[in-house]
Amino acid sequence: MTRKTLEAWSPWVLLLAIVGLWQLVCSAFSVSEFIFPSPARIAEQMIEFRGVIAGHAWRTFWVTMAGFGIAIVVGVLLGFLIGSSRIAYTAFYPLMTGFNALPKAAFVPILVVWFGIGIGPAILTAFLISFFPITVNIATGLATLEPELEDVLRVLGANRWDVLTKVGLPRSMPYFFGSLKVAITLAFVGTTVSEMQAANEGIGYLLVSAGSAMQMGLAFAGLVVVGAMAMAMYEFFSVLEKRITGWAHRGSQAH
């Protein structure tokens, strides 16, 4: 096995090892499934409740995607605004940082008052938690333009829009895709947290109801599904990133 194939398989090997160890510990000490269910038990529950889990997972998925979609639109526009003007950058940045430090779970009760129980709070929580990295990355990409290149363009009579579209935006694309990978995982956190407090559907709701019914296997199965969805989307954006902004990864790709 070459080093490269080993590297490609290493995540799966590690996953298997962890699951194996987990199963071993649970079996060896006969841990109660109401405290800490074994992988086998989780799998069993997952198969038993596959219809229910799939329904909740689908709900969580599309709600997350809706929130994430809004996050992309708002994040890009805001990043565009902040990154293309020094004044806007200085004005917005402290406020944004302050906002980002607030726990988004604390917004859920407020959102419930405004939008009621259901998809409203979940979509908005996913959005609130995930737009920040997108904004920051777009703004950074736009703000880091070499002064020489700017001179080259300005002397030709380039206006700000030209500089932004010809140089700023393409340059910020790797930052943008990098931020999508971070943001999508955060969006799943937002949806799940919101669903736990204020929804009758979705993985978050499933976690809470399974927990209160002492169905730990089902609760863990829900966690596994959220994790798997987030990982899949992360990989998706990772592939997209390499496809579209391969020029920014030339170092790491030249194995």
């Binding site: 020489e148 080259v152 300005r154 002397v155 010809k166 140089v167 020029w247």
Partner: protein
């Protein structure tokens, strides 16, 4: 002498009003006249205002005092008849070399409005230009697949694609190794001989300035002033061999002397005595 192509008359520049009030100028009392098609080089120590001079000559900065006329008209804003290249090639890594070279055509008039219709023609022109500097076969490579010297050639092509009347180069060969640098001298020499554009070359390298330029100006440091004007009467076309002749080394020596004196004695040396020999 008829009207000069580039005409600086007692030009002073302070970067902002505060510095102006304090009388701190980046460049002071610069007067120079450059004929059409002339190749001038400006040499001097780091931070002597060479780059400021570039900004003035391209209209990116307006003088605090004095007048600048280029091509018979007072400078009022960025001058589209100029092309610029710097020490860093600053090519865009997501564009192929030929598309990097075409970038100015997407921005500057009259090419801009006809860019979509005449794209094929412009692309052919960019390829032609790249071939003429020895980059044939590399047009469709990305900049990061090229060596430093090749990137710099492409950067100069980008500065020339819109057929500017004046090319401004700010230490364009500073980051290259000695052999590549000499190759690029020849490339620049041939391009200028063929197209007859004006060149303002800012450099640290005295040999480079003497080899390439018709006139070399020496600038003093803070405040930036032109303290020496030296015509280089070596016959053209010049070959690299000429850099080993006594005349050539004599001129380099003489220029080195001016810079040495300036570094030793401070900026008071010379004042404008040498400005119009």
């Amino acid at each position: 002498m008829t009207a000069a192509f580039v005409d600086f008359r007692n030009v002073w520049l302070a970067y902002n009003d505060e510095l102006l009030a304090q009388g701190q100028f980046a460049v002071e009392d610069i007067s120079l006249q450059v004929a059409e098609g002339e190749f001038i080089a400006i040499v001097g120590p780091s931070g002597c205002g060479k780059s400021t001079f570039m900004k003035l000559a391209t209209g990116l900065k307006m003088p605090s005092r004095g007048q600048i006329e280029i091509a018979g008209a007072p400078v009022r804003g960025p001058l589209k008849i100029t092309g610029m290249a710097f020490q860093a090639p600053s090519l865009l890594p997501w564009r192929t070399t030929v598309h990097n070279v075409m970038l100015p055509l997407e921005i500057v008039e009259p090419y801009r409005s006809s860019f979509k219709q005449r794209r094929a023609e412009y692309e052919e022109r960019a390829r032609q230009l790249l071939r003429s500097v020895g980059l044939g076969g590399y047009e469709d490579k990305f900049p990061w697949q090229l060596s430093g010297g090749m990137q710099q050639r492409a950067s100069i092509c980008r500065a020339l694609i819109h057929e500017p009347k004046m090319l401004l180069l700010d230490e364009p060969f500073g980051a290259l190794d000695a052999f590549t640098r000499e190759e690029l001298w020849c490339t620049l020499r041939d391009l200028q001989a063929a197209q007859k554009f004006n060149v303002i070359l800012v450099t640290h390298d005295l040999r480079e300035s003497v080899f390439l330029a018709d006139t070399v100006y020496v600038m003093s440091k803070s405040p930036g002033r032109m303290i020496v004007k030296r015509r280089i009467d070596l016959p053209r076309p010049r070959d690299l061999e000429i850099t080993y002749t006594p005349e050539f080394t004599g001129i380099v020596h003489e220029l080195r002397g001016h810079i040495g004196a300036m570094r030793g004695a401070g900026p008071a040396v010379g004042t404008r005595a040498g400005a119009a020999p």
